[in-house]
Assembly symmetry: C3
C-alpha cells in the first residue's frame, strides 16, 4: 500500500509551514474545476530566507535550497486548497521556475532540481511534472528563486 503524502513528508522531516498570506489584492491559489493554480512562492520558511543572485555570490547549493523552500511553500498552499488532504493531489502538472541570475549563469536547471526532486520524493510518479526554468534579473524582495505551480486534484 502506498505511503500517504503526509507519511512521506514526515519521513522527509518536513513540517509544512502555515501558508503565507498575500498582502495585496491577490490570493495564494485559485481552484478551477480539477485544476489548482498556485501563485509564485518565494524561498522562505520560518526564519530562513534566501536572497541574492545565482552567478553573483549565491552558490548552486544555496539556489537548490531556495527552490526546495519554494516548493515547500507551494505544498503548504496546495494543502490548503485540498482542505488539508494532500492525498487528493492527482498530479503535479507544471512548475514554472524563475531563477534570479546574472547574464552569464547557465545552471538554472540544476538549481530548479531542488524543487523537482522534492516533488517526486513527496508525490512519487504523480510528482513528475512539466517545467519551465528561466533566469530573471530580479525578484520581489530580492528572492533568489520564485516558483509557481499547476496541480490536478480529485
Amino acid at each position: 500500500m502506498a505511503a500517504t503524502v503526509a507519511a512521506r513528508l514526515a519521513g522527509l522531516g518536513i513540517t509544512l509551514p502555515t501558508p503565507a498570506s498575500p498582502v495585496a489584492n491577490y490570493v495564494p491559489f485559485v481552484v478551477s474545476g480539477a485544476l489548482v493554480v498556485v501563485s509564485g512562492q518565494g524561498p522562505f520558511v520560518g526564519e530562513e530566507r534566501i536572497v541574492g543572485k545565482l552567478g553573483a555570490g549565491l552558490d548552486i547549493a544555496a539556489g537548490q535550497r531556495a527552490a526546495r523552500l519554494c516548493f515547500i511553500n507551494l505544498l503548504a498552499q496546495l494543502q490548503a486548497a485540498c482542505a488539508g488532504d494532500l492525498d487528493r493531489v492527482r498530479r503535479v502538472i507544471r512548475l514554472g521556475g524563475f531563477i534570479a541570475a546574472t547574464a552569464d549563469f547557465t545552471a538554472h536547471a540544476t538549481v530548479m532540481n531542488g524543487a523537482s526532486d522534492l516533488a517526486v520524493a513527496v508525490f512519487g510518479e504523480a510528482g513528475r511534472h512539466a517545467r519551465t526554468t528561466v533566469g530573471v534579473p530580479s525578484l520581489p524582495l530580492d528572492f533568489a528563486v520564485e516558483i509557481e505551480g499547476l496541480f490536478e486534484i480529485a
Copy 2:
C-alpha cells in the same frame, strides 16, 4: 443586486479601448472550454505608452500605472472573448506579471498591485486571482510592464 461589470467600469471612469490586434501570427486570446487565455498585454491606451525600467528612471507610481494599463488591455480582450458581456466572467484565475527592472529592484509586487487592485475593483471577489510577478531585463517595444491573464467564463 450586484453592480454589473459595465457599471463598475463606468464608476471607475474607465472606457475600454478597442482591443489591440497582434501584428503577427498569433491572436489576442484563445478560448478552451471555460478558460480564456489572453496574450501578454503592454502598457498603452490611446496616446499613452509607458516604457523604460523600474529601478532606472521609472518610479513606482509609473510602474503601477503601467500595470493598470496592461490590465485594461486584458479587459478589452476579455470583453471580446465574451462577445461583449463581461458579466460572463466567473473568475480571474491568474495574472502573470513581467516587470522590466534592474538587478537591484525589489518592489515588483508593489508595481503589480496596479493590476491586481483594478481586478478586484472591477470584478469584486471574482477578481481575486493567483499571480506570479518577476523582473525581466527587457520587454517588447521597451514596455515597462507586460501582463498575461487566465480567466474562467460562463
Copy 3:
C-alpha cells in the same frame, strides 16, 4: 480535403527529432484532460544549437531560427503526447517565449515570430495561439530562446 499535419511537415521539409528526455525529475509533457502542457524547450536539433543573447552578438535572424527550433522540439514532444498522431491537435492554445536579451533589446516579438509562423504553417487556423514574449538575462545552457507550450488535443 485539408492536408494532414504530417503532410504539411513534409512539405516544409521538417523531420521531427526524437523528443529530448529531461535529465532530471521532470517530464517533457503532462496530459490533463484535453490539455497538453509541454515543458520549456531549447533551440537545438541534431548538431545545431543556438546560444548567446539578442542584443549582444546574436542577430534577429539567428533568434528567429532559435525560436523555430524550440517550436520543432515542442512539436516532437506534442507528437509523443498524441501517440504519434499530430492530427489529434485541436488547437495551439498558448506559447510562452523567453528571449535571452540585453536590457536595451526591444525586438522580442520579431524573434518569437520564428515559432508563431511555424505554428500556423503546420496547423493552419488551429495554430493561431495566444502568446507571451519577454526578455530574460540568461537561460539554461546559455540557450538563446526557450519556449513552452499549451495545446488542446482530441
